[in-house]
Subunit: 325 residues, 2 copies
DNA sequence: TTGTAGGCGTTATCAG
DNA sequence: CTGATAACGCCTACAA
């Protein structure tokens, strides 16, 4: 690989002059500039980003750690985050814990080196000091670690209420909600609290079902749905993330329950998964694109050292009436 | 951030000694070793991976370029690729062209710097020389650029045949297949050729419908399905990738077509999307996990400079009988 | 407008 | 077993 030195030699100038045309950091006479660009082309020169990064103490890479890439919520979020980062000249390093703490710890260790300029966390199940002593720009989505680590989240409180309303309107009597295992500080817990409270106020029975992140793939959810509905025919409604919601809807229909007359489903997240079923699912949808934009915006502010406006950014959710509740 | 020099100073040794305990590259007396590890802990020292990479001419990062992260095929593939890379101590830089050539070109340019050790291509629509003159380890999935760039692919020929069989068995008369816009060298074209040939041999009408990558999101597919089925009621079968297959199944059922008696669907890819609908979709499924493993294996061979066994790796597909064909 | 020199943090080579 | 030194490729003072 040709280096800046090779280019300089070929163009008959000093390296710094090449560096100048490379970065436009100072004036260079048109003639030498032409010679240099020619030399670069001839040698097929590409600057070594590692060396650049070393000098600038900056790699241009942002990493995002999620429990699983396959889960729609994170997959879609990653999609939008990548798009935003690209707009700002950054690259995305997408890392999955695969639901394993050891992977999470290993990645957090890696992130502390200068390989990445900042980190977006979609999961945080390690000891608190891992995050508090993390010396780099760090933000999370949906996780409130402390007051100083910024978090971008959608309005879970309203989301829970909207979901509850849907069941109330349909006159459900016994509803369950699927809750991903309570990792600490998960803000989405709020939607479950609000959901349960609102239903109870309306005299409706609510039961929580805890599930572990990535313990289930779709097939696992389907079995879970099957066994729950078998064992508890009194259940006439379920709120869950898109994927498990799909599984419950499918199970219910296959058991001959009429939807939404006898059984209601509200999908939380509102990715396209909520619409692939024959019946459009009623859904509370999070603004993933806006969340991603905000996340990148805040993180880059942190990286650039500029003042961060708010350490808690909340975006509105929206209710989409479907045919399942 | 503490550097190796700080550690050396604190431990009262030379930097190279610290480096030795860091990498275990040479024997160090237990006593000095202890002093050094203590110093590292006290200073919360983390090696600068950028500097390491600069020396080794290696970053430990592999990038993967796909048309879209949201598309199940690539999302799932990325999931498995990340998992495999992790096993081998590499990190994944996931990049999406978002269906845009300019982004593709820009990323290919970036990849030429030393920021990544190798590249996996899920899309290749630029001029041939971009790939042929690419000086780094490079492999593709589903794209045959030339004889020297390794490609990992599943058995599209058999896949097409298996799909065709399903329609033949059900006695379909008029089938369409959705083909993603023919970028050059896309090996999956073979499955469509075989599919069409086999159906025609059986006296069944086949029509190709071309779609552009990422021109449609799920909603777009649904409209497409709707309008096609409206305009051509004679169509009684469709083969498509999982997501558009979902859209067609939904459209057909909502139009009152009985599935599979009057209308058949075969999903190609076989991610879990093929199972979220109330009816399990009949599917030809690609072994994404094995493909990912192979891709990483071959790429790392290339990176390590060891002999690459084959430049064309083909893995078997499997047929999964569902309820839609 | 252009060139020289030193350093970013790490590792390997070669002495001691 | 340990230490000094020279790379790796690039960039920015500081000179000329």
């Amino acid at each position: 690989m040709a280096t800046i030195r090779d280019v300089a030699a070929r163009a008959g100038v000093a390296v710094c002059t090449v560096s100048r045309v490379l970065n436009g950091s100072a004036a260079v006479s048109p003639k030498t500039k032409a010679r240099i660009t020619d030399a670069m082309a001839e040698l097929d020169y590409v600057p070594n980003e590692l060396a650049r990064g070393m000098f600038r103490q900056k790699s241009g890479i942002v990493s995002m750690l999620v429990p699983s890439i396959r889960h729609m919520f994170f997959g879609n979020l990653a999609h939008f985050v990548e798009r935003e980062l690209y707009r700002h000249g950054y690259k995305l390093m997408l890392c999955s814990t695969d639901g394993k703490k050891e992977r999470e710890a290993e990645y957090m260790r890696t992130f502390r080196s200068n390989l990445v300029d900042g980190v977006i966390l979609g999961v945080a199940s390690l000891d608190l000091d891992v995050y508090e002593n993390f010396k780099k720009p760090l933000i999370t989505t949906d996780i409130r670690i402390n007051d100083s680590i910024p978090v971008v989240v959608s309005d879970n409180d309203t989301g829970g209420a909207l979901a509850a309303d849907a069941f109330i309107r349909r006159g459900c009597k016994c509803v369950i909600q699927l809750i991903s295992a309570s990792e600490r500080f998960v803000l989405s817990l709020q939607r479950h609290l609000r959901f349960a409270a609102k239903l109870r106020d309306a005299g409706i029975a609510v039961q929580d079902v805890e599930i572990k992140w990535d313990e289930f793939d779709y097939h696992g959810y389907q079995e879970l749905a099957q066994s729950i509905l078998d064992a508890h025919p009194e259940i006439d409604g379920v709120m869950a993330a898109d994927m498990p919601a799909c599984a419950f809807l499918k199970a219910a229909i296959r058991m001959g329950r009429r939807v939404p007359e006898e059984f209601c489903v509200v999908a939380y997240d509102g990715t396209y998964l909520a619409h692939v079923n024959t019946l459009d699912m009623t859904a509370v949808s999070q603004p993933l694109d806006e969340m991603a934009a905000k996340m990148v915006e805040v993180l880059l502010e942190l990286i650039d050292g500029s003042e961060v406006k708010g350490t808690y950014v909340q975006l509105p959710v929206s209710f989409r009436q479907g045919e399942t509740a």
